[in-house]
Amino acid sequence: MMLVRDIMERDLTSLSEETPLLEAMALIVTHKTGGLPVLDNNSRVVGFLSEGDVLKAAIPGYLGYMDENFAAPDVGKINARVKRVGDDPARNYMTKGALVFDENETVSNALVALFKRNVRVAPVIKNGSLVGIVNREEILRGFVQNNFGDGEES
């Protein structure tokens, strides 16, 4: 049985609740990830800041704006908004009570939970501490490796 710990990425990059939003954006971009876990002072996962959370912060009311007016917001206004909220702490925008997996969770259960919650990436914990992250791509890679060996086409 394939477990989350068998396929998770063991990178522990994370944010504090106080990490400025702009710094958090840079970390998400640099790490090419869908988001990062947010830890409290005791290293416990207290939330998750996804790229969606960050974009929502940069474009407040974006979806509503599109639905009602069918017009894209001005880029200058988005940049101004990013500057304005850039120093805000991550805790203001993170998803609290975010999906978290124990490292011994089965991959199939994790996959179902990711789809049900409509999220792409989630932190993995062991005894309450962060030990990695899992995303849909890694799950897919795990299935490919199980069925095709190294998962690479010749």
Binding site: L12, T13, T30
Partner: protein, 309 residues
Amino acid sequence: MMITITPNPAIDEVYTVSNFRPGRWFRASDVNRSPGGRGVNVSIILKQLGYDSVSTGFLAGHTGSYIRDEILARGISTNFVDVKGESRSNTFIRDDVGAVETLIADSGPNVGDDAVKRFFWNLERLLPRATAVQMGGSLPPGLPDDFFKGAIDIARRRNIPVFVESFGTPLDRAIEALPTVVKIDQRFMKKMRDVSLSALDYLIDVSKGIFDEGVDWIVTSYFNNSNLFCTTKGHFLAEIDVESAVTFRAASDSLTAGMMIARAERMGIEDTIRFSMACVRENIHSDVATAISRENVEKAVAKVVIQKL
């Protein structure tokens, strides 16, 4: 869980060139690329010997992404701070006929204050789960000379054993924070303390000086086949056979990994010396500098010769 700190990781590119001579053109008969740097090597060796670690430090650019991916692919956890620029490449030219290695190293990316702050934030959060911390190697531009000292201070406040290997002012500052084990390459000992390469008595004197400051273990390389261990039970010279050695590239890192494991398994002083030297022996006789197995290390223990001085 153990933590390794590599301030300046690298890609180690090893080109095998027969009869290498400067000033001529060669085509390599073999090329091997792997992540490197003191702590990274220690993490890889620890993993091969059955111990988990988190590899930390600073990474930059495409080289940095490659290093992180390669470490993760080996099942090792990572928690690096990303900085601008490009992590370094160490180019080794291995002459399989002349049996010599030439190294060309670059200096690495600039590390600013914000990155240092983030590094220490990460370290503080990892330490509650840590059983040992290892740090070493060169500092990239921008990192202050007291970088190791700062990390040792934090770890020692939590009574976590610290293993450090570096040189020059960063090592002098690190010693002030009283790490558990200090490893000094004899070539750097000569530069730091003006001690002759061949004078064992001088090496003992210098090691004893550092030991008296409050460091538990001082380990100094002595030629390429021995290490001098200065301990609470006296001085020991440990020797291994190196005649058929393939590479010395990660020899020192295998010694450190061996000492970390010996401490975790509560080995006595002489067993610690034998086990860590056996790690070195297996490492230098492997084609790949960081390939080693517990079974082979156990077999090699009997081949280590220890002399109490």
